[in-house]
C-alpha cells in the first residue's frame, strides 16, 4: 500500500513546556474540586458499610441515630427510593459494577454500602452513622480464586463482554511443543488499589423531581451521566454532570460506583443538595481495584532467540456478577514478531466488588510476565536483553497483521541504552557490588495502544482577539486544561493567555472520558476540526471582503497556519483570522466539530481522500490520493532502563537510576508529558516493589485499607529520573499526530525492575510486589 503522508498541523506553542494554566487556581485554593463546590443548604451523607462479606442483614436499628440533633434522613434498603432500573436491568450497563447495593437485605462484599445517614453537618452525620446498629446473618464468603471453595470458570468474554476470552493465532500449542527452547513461568500480581489523592465524592442537587446536577469526581462525565439517567429513568438533558478538577483517578474514577447512584437517589428524597465523600477506608471497597491474579506464560523460541510461540493463561478473582478482568494477553500478542500465540482466561467468583481498569489495565501486568520471560530467554541463551528484543522486533503488528502507523521503538532502545550506559552492564548476575549492596541493571519495553475515540469541541473566536474553547473532557490533574489551551492557541494564532479552555460539564460538547489514554488525542483533534470550521467561515468572509488581501481568492487556494490565512502559492499574501473578523463588524464567530482519534480518524481521512470531498471545511486537507487500505495498528512504544541496589542480607530493593525513552507522536507539552511518563514509571515501581492490599482469607475483607499500610512510593524511593521523547510523526492518529501518554509510562516497569533484580542477584522474582521478605527468601535458595 502506497500512502503519501499527510503532515501534522504546524505548531508554535504546542510542545513547549508551558506551566499549568490551572496552577495558580490550584495553589491558591480557587480551584474547586467536586466536594468543595459551595452550595447553599448542602447537607451531608455518611455511608455505613457492611461489616461482613456475605450474608443477610437481620436488622437495622436506627432509633438512637434518629434522635441525634441535625439528623435528617437515614436510608437503608428498606426506604432508599427505588431506581427506575437497577444496573442489572439496564440493557447496556457501561459502568464496571452491575450490582447496586441497598436494594435488599443481601450483602455480597465487605464494605458495600448498607446505610446512608444524612445530617446538617458532616460531624453529626458521622456520629449518627456510628449509632446505627446493623446486625447480620453472616455466611462463609469466598475470598479469591485461591479459595478452596472458589470455582474457576471459562468466562468466554472478559471486561464485561468487551474482549474475547480466548485468542489463538497460528498453532501455539504445537509450536511450543516443538520449540527447541522452552520457558514456562508463572507470575503473581497482588491486589492493587488506585488511591488517588482526592477521594471519590458526589454532590447531588435536584431541581424539582426531574432535573439533577451532580458535581462528581469522574474521569468520564458522559459515562456518569449515562449511568445516572439509566438508573433514574430521565432523559439525557435532565441530568448534568460537572467535574471541573480532579485529584487523580488512575481508572477508579472512570466508572460510576454505587455511592454516586445511591446519593442521587437519596438526594431526591432529601430535597437539598446532598454531599457524600468516601473515606480513605471506603475508597478500598468503593471504587474498584486491580484484581489479584496469576499468569502462566509459556514461551517457545529458537536457539538463537527468535520467538516461535507464546501461550498465556490467566487466573483471576472476579465479583459475583461481572466477568471483569484485565486483558493481559493483548500486549503479549502484539509486542514481538512471534508467529503463534494463544491466550485463555479463567475467573473465579468471590465476595469482592467488581475490579476495574487501573492505569494500563492488562498491559501493566501482562508486560510484567512477557518482559520477565524475555529476560529469562536472553539469559538462558547468553544474549543481551536488548539484543533479544531487537531479534524479535515486530516490523508490523503480528496480532492483526497490520502495518504500524508509526513506531520508534528502535530509536527508544538506542537512545535509552545510550543515556543509561547499557553497554557497561555486566551480563553475569550477582557480580556487581557497591559496598555491601548488589547492583543490577535491567530493561523493559513499554507500549500502549491508541484506542479509537471521538469527541466534539466548540471554538468561539472573538473579534477582540481572544477565544473560548469548550469540550466536555476532564482533567485528571495531568494537564488537559494546559495542553488544550496550547492546541487552541496554535489553531487560532493567539497567545495562550488569550484562550480560555473550559471542560468538565455535560452541557459542553460531548467528549470521551480521560481513560485509555485517549482524551488528549481526541480532544486535540476535535479542537483542530472546530478551529478549521472557524477558519472556513473566516476565509469565506475574507475572500468576499474588498479590504482583505485575500479578496477574490478561491477558498481552496487559501491555507491557514497558526491563525494566519494566506495564499498557499504566495504565502506573503494574507492576514490573520482576527484581523478579518474584526473588520467584519461581527463580535465573534463560532465553529464546532467532531474530532476523531485513532482508527476512526484514519478512516475518515481515507474516506475524505477517496471521495474527493472539498466541502469538508478543512482548507488544509491535501488530496493524498491513496486508496482506503486495511488501516494501521496504532501504538506508542518506549523503553525503560533501570538500576537497582539489593541489600542481600536485609532483602531491600531500591531503584537507584531510571531512564525512560518514549515515542508517543507529537508531545503537546514537554513538561506535563514528562511528568506523565515519570508518574507512570513511579506508579510501576510502586506495583513492583510495595503496593499490595491484603484480603483476609476467612473474612474476605481488607486488612490494610489505609495509606500507612498500603504503601505507595515516597520521595525517598524514587531516584532522579531521566525521561526523554524521540521525535515521531504519525499522520494516521489525529490532526496533530498525538498519541496518548497516560498509561504507557507504567507498562514494562515492573519487569524492568525485576530484570534488574535478576541481574543483581541471579534470582528471578515472579511475584509482585517484590517486598524484602520475598527477596530474602529467594536469596536463601540457590541461584
Amino acid at each position: 500500500m502506497e500512502i503519501k503522508e499527510k503532515e501534522n498541523a504546524p505548531t508554535n506553542i504546542v510542545g513547549k513546556p508551558l506551566n499549568r494554566v490551572d496552577g495558580p487556581a490550584k495553589v491558591t485554593g480557587a480551584a474547586r474540586y467536586s466536594a468543595e463546590v459551595p452550595l447553599a443548604g448542602t447537607v451531608y451523607g455518611v455511608l455505613k458499610t457492611s461489616a461482613i462479606a456475605k450474608g443477610r442483614i437481620k436488622s437495622i436499628d436506627t432509633s438512637r441515630a434518629e434522635k441525634e440533633p441535625g439528623v435528617l434522613h437515614i436510608f437503608t434498603y428498606q426506604n432508599l427510593p427505588k431506581p427506575a432500573k437497577t444496573p442489572q436491568q439496564v440493557e447496556k450497563w457501561r459502568a464496571a459494577q452491575s450490582y447496586l447495593p441497598m436494594q435488599d437485605d443481601r450483602v455480597q462484599y465487605a464494605g458495600e454500602p448498607v446505610v446512608l445517614v444524612v445530617a446538617d453537618t458532616l460531624e453529626r452525620a458521622t456520629q449518627a452513622a456510628e449509632l446505627v446498629q446493623v446486625s447480620y446473618q453472616a455466611e462463609l464468603p469466598i475470598d479469591s480464586y485461591l479459595d478452596p471453595k472458589a470455582e474457576l470458570f471459562d468466562p468466554q468474554t472478559i471486561q464485561s463482554g468487551k474482549q474475547p476470552g480466548h485468542t489463538e493465532r497460528g498453532n501455539p500449542q504445537a509450536a511450543y511443543a516443538g520449540a527447541p527452547v522452552k520457558l514456562d513461568a508463572t507470575y503473581v500480581h497482588a491486589i492493587n488499589h488506585h488511591n488517588p489523592m482526592e477521594p471519590a465524592a458526589t454532590l447531588a442537587v435536584w431541581e424539582g423531581n426531574d432535573r439533577l446536577t451532580v458535581y462528581e469526581t469522574t474521569q468520564n462525565i458522559t459515562g456518569s451521566q449515562t449511568a445516572l439517567l439509566d438508573v433514574l429513568g430521565l432523559p439525557r438533558d435532565q441530568v448534568r454532570v460537572v467535574t471541573h478538577y480532579l485529584g487523580g483517578g488512575f481508572g477508579c474514577k472512570g466508572s460510576v460506583w454505587p455511592h454516586t447512584l445511591i446519593t442521587a437517589l437519596a438526594a431526591r428524597a432529601v430535597g437539598r443538595p446532598l454531599k457524600v465523600v468516601l473515606t480513605r477506608k471506603q475508597m478500598f471497597t468503593g471504587v474498584g481495584h486491580r484484581e489479584d491474579q496469576e499468569q502462566n506464560l509459556k514461551l517457545g523460541a529458537t536457539t538463537d532467540g527468535k520467538l516461535l510461540a507464546l501461550v498465556h493463561t490467566k487466573k483471576a478473582t472476579t465479583s459475583p456478577w461481572d466477568n471483569y478482568t484485565e486483558s493481559n494477553s493483548k500486549v503479549i500478542n502484539m509486542l514481538y514478531a512471534c508467529p503463534s500465540f494463544g491466550a485463555t482466561y479463567e475467573l473465579a467468583r468471590a465476595n469482592v466488588m467488581t475490579s476495574v481498569w487501573m492505569r494500563a489495565p492488562g498491559e501493566a501486568p501482562g508486560s510484567f510476565a512477557l518482559e520477565s520471560s524475555m529476560d529469562d530467554l536472553a539469559h538462558q541463551l547468553n544474549i543481551d536483553p536488548l539484543e533479544i528484543r531487537l531479534r524479535n522486533y515486530a516490523d508490523h503488528d503480528y496480532s492483526n497483521d497490520k502495518p504500524w502507523s508509526s513506531k520508534s521503538l528502535k530509536q527508544c532502545y538506542a537512545r535509552g541504552a545510550e543515556l543509561f550506559g547499557w553497554d557497561k552492564r555486566n551480563p553475569t548476575p550477582g557480580q556487581t557490588r557497591r559496598g555491601r549492596l548488589l547492583v543490577g541493571h535491567g530493561m523493559g519495553t513499554a507500549t500502549y495502544p491508541v484506542h479509537s475515540a471521538q469527541g466534539t469541541a466548540r471554538v468561539r473566536l472573538f473579534a477582540d482577539g481572544h477565544a473560548v474553547v469548550q469540550s466536555g473532557a476532564t482533567d485528571l490533574g495531568t494537564g488537559t486544561y494546559t495542553v488544550m489551551t496550547q492546541v487552541s492557541a496554535d489553531a487560532l494564532g493567539l497567545p495562550p493567555d488569550k484562550i480560555r479552555f473550559e471542560l468538565g460539564d455535560t452541557r459542553l460538547p460531548t467528549a470521551p472520558g480521560s481513560g485509555g489514554s485517549q482524551a488528549a488525542g481526541t480532544v486535540a483533534s476535535a479542537i483542530m476540526e472546530a478551529a478549521q470550521d472557524v477558519w472556513a467561515k473566516v476565509v469565506k468572509m475574507a475572500v468576499a471582503d474588498k479590504k482583505s488581501p485575500l479578496y477574490k481568492a478561491k477558498p481552496a487556494d487559501v491555507k491557514v497556519e497558526l491563525g494566519r490565512m494566506f495564499l498557499a502559492k504566495k504565502p506573503a499574501k494574507g492576514e490573520t483570522l482576527v484581523a478579518a473578523l474584526a473588520r467584519s463588524g461581527q463580535t465573534d464567530i463560532e465553529g464546532s466539530a467532531s474530532g476523531k482519534y485513532g482508527a476512526g480518524y484514519e478512516k475518515q481521512y481515507f474516506e475524505a481522500a477517496d471521495s474527493d470531498d472539498k466541502k469538508g471545511g478543512n482548507p488544509n486537507q491535501e488530496k493524498p490520493g491513496e486508496k482506503q487500505g486495511q488501516g494501521h495498528s496504532m501504538h506508542s512504544f518506549g523503553a525503560h532502563f533501570c538500576e537497582v541496589e539489593v541489600d542481600p542480607e536485609l532483602g531491600t530493593i531500591r531503584v537507584t537510576r531510571w531512564v525512560g525513552v518514549h515515542g508517543v507522536g507529537t508531545v503537546l507539552n514537554l513538561k506535563t508529558a514528562t511528568s506523565q511518563l515519570m508518574g507512570g514509571a513511579i506508579f510501576g515501581i510502586g506495583s513492583a516493589l510495595m503496593e499490595e492490599t491484603f484480603r483476609d482469607p476467612t473474612y474476605a475483607r481488607y486488612t490494610n485499607s489505609d495509606l500507612a499500610s498500603y504503601h505507595v512510593p515516597v520521595n525517598a524511593d524514587i531516584p532522579d529520573m531521566t525521561i526523554e521523547f524521540v521525535p515521531e510523526t504519525d499522520p494516521y492518529i489525529n490532526a496533530l499526530g498525538v498519541k496518548g501518554i497516560g498509561e504507557i509510562g507504567i507498562v514494562g516497569v515492573a519487569a524492568a525492575v525485576a530484570n534488574a533484580v535478576f541481574n543483581a542477584t541471579g534470582r528471578r522474582m515472579r511475584s509482585l510486589p517484590m517486598t524484602p521478605d520475598k527477596m530474602l527468601e529467594a536469596l536463601r535458595l540457590p541461584a
Partner: protein, 328 residues
Amino acid sequence: MNNFSYIQADKAKDATAAKRDDKSAAFIAGGTTLLDLMKLSVENHDQLIDVNMLPFRGIESTKDGLRIGALERMSDVAAHPLVARQFPMVAESLLLAASAQLRNMASIGGNVLQRTRCGYFRDTAFPCNKRNPGSGCPALTGDNRNLAILGTSDACIATSYPGDLSVALIALDAVLTLENAKGKQRQVPLTKFYLLPGSTPQRETVLEPDELIVAVTIPQTEMARRSKYLKVRDRASYAYALVSAAVGLEVQGGTIKAARVALGGVGAQPWRCFEAEKALVGQPATEATFRAAAEVALRGAKPREHNAFKVEMAQNTLVRALSEVAAA
C-alpha cells in the same frame, strides 16, 4: 467516630483528676495515634483532656542522664544536639519514624503509648482480643506479615508497640517518670513498663488510668554514645519497621566490654535481648560473635505463615547494626 467534649488542663493535677473521674476520657498530646483510632471507632472517648499546656518540657542533662519532657516533639528531640551527639540511636529512631509532619506533632509520651498497627485491631468489623477481649484473634491465620514472633501468646501476636523510639529507650535502660491524680510520682524503667499479651492483650502497659507520663530519662553511657538504630522497611521512608535493631557497644582493644541490644518489629513489645547482650560481652567484636548473638536473640521465636522471614531478617539486621557500630 463519636462526639466528645474537650478540656485543656493547665496543671497536671487537673488532668489526672479529670481522667480519674471519667473512665472514658483520654489524654491527648499530638493526637496522631489517638485521633486516628477514634476516627476508626477503635477507641471511643467521651472526653479528651488536652495535656499540651502542661510543663512537661525540656531536654537536659541531669545526674541520672538525659531527661526529656514527655511533651517534647519527636522532631525537636531528634534535632537536639545533646541527643544527636550523645544518643545517636535515639535520634535515629526518631528520624526514621513516621513523616516530618507527624514528627512535628507527635510527643515523646504519646510515642511510647502508640498502639499496634495490626489490621484487625484497627477495623471494628473484625474480631480482636486486644480491642474486644474474648472475641478471637484472626491474625493467627490471617494477615500476620507485620506481627510479632517473640513474646506472643495464642490470644494475640501483635507488635503491640509498632514504633521505634521505645526500642531505643528500652535498649538504653531508660526510665519513665509517671505522676498520678494524687500528685505522686514514680519511676518505671521501660523494661518493666510494657506488658506481654498473655491472656490479656488489652493490657499493654503498667500505666494506671490516672497516670501521666511526665518525662523519660536515659542514662548516659558509652554504649549510648556508640550506638545505632537500624530499621528495615517496605519502602525507603515513612513506613513502620519490618524489623529494627537498636544496639550500643563498648569495645576495648577489640573486646566487647558491654552491650545493649533491642529489637523492634519482632516482639509483642519492644524487645530487649538480654541473652544476646550476654553472648556479646567478653567476646571479640567480630562478625562471628555478632552472628552468634543474633541467633541467641531470636531463640524461641514463634513465626507464623507470613512473618517467618522476620527471624532471618532480624538476625541479619542485628549483625549489620553491631558490625557498623563496632566499625564506627
